[in-house]
């Protein structure tokens, strides 16, 4: 349980971010450290001005998937951002923005939601990942 779970988040749609948030919260509840590295469209979804907005769903969701996700939301399912906040409250969850993606999107640290702990390069990510699995979403 001591090896961290390392998530590389690339996709910025709400369904993939929700799946990542669930994996994170489950690991955090078990006391397993989690390192999250935000790239491309996932990083874009963490902009302070966009995090609470609708980020769409992966193409395979289709209209039926959209309806299913909307039904869960209406039933009171926590948003992915809220699930991540609760996971961070437990401790052991570190969220870093990829510095290359920061350049790509013309972002500064102040543009990001406070869920994001900092900005780092891929080498720092691998160093912190240790021998733990790296999962790409």
């Amino acid at each position: 349980m001591d090896e961290p779970l390392n998530l590389v988040l690339f996709s910025g749609t709400d369904d993939k971010l929700q799946a990542a948030a669930v994996l994170t919260a489950g690991a955090a509840a078990l006391g397993k450290p989690v390192n999250i590295f935000l790239q491309y469209w996932a990083l874009d979804a963490f902009r302070a001005t966009k995090i609470g907005r609708d980020h769409g769903l992966a193409p395979e969701a289709g209209p039926a998937g959209r309806a299913a996700v909307d039904a869960l939301t209406r039933a009171g399912q926590a948003s992915w951002a809220d699930t991540l906040r609760q996971a961070k409250d437990l401790g052991g969850v570190d969220i870093q923005a990829c510095s290359l993606s920061m350049d790509l999107l013309h972002l500064e640290s102040l543009d990001l939601d406070p869920l994001v702990d900092g900005v780092e390069g891929v080498t720092a990510f691998y160093l912190n990942a240790g021998d733990g699995q790296v999962v790409f979403i």
């Binding site: 669930v22 919260a25 489950g26 509840a29 078990l30 926590a78 699930t83 609760q86 437990l90």
Partner: protein
């Protein structure tokens, strides 16, 4: 079975996986060893998840029951 005094109740009814476990872990962090947490949940996944969480964290699942789609767990803090 002797009567167990509940230290804190976590009402996780209506919350989806994994929030019942997250709320339980949050409660466990603030309570001393030996404290007893009662978790009430409606997520069917919590049956296996609570058992797995207790096994992994060393907390003790001392009772569990269900009333229809409402599940109740009693956990003693390690």
């Amino acid at each position: 079975m002797p009567v167990v005094e509940i230290t804190q109740t976590v009402d996780a009814r209506g919350l989806s996986c994994p929030l019942p476990i997250v709320r339980t872990a949050q409660a466990a962090r603030t309570l001393p060893s030996g404290a007893v947490i009662e978790l009430i949940a409606t997520d069917a996944g919590s049956i296996k998840d609570v058992a797995a969480w207790c096994k992994a964290t060393g907390n003790e699942l001392i009772d569990q029951s269900s009333d229809g789609a409402v599940y109740r767990f009693v956990i003693r803090r390690k």
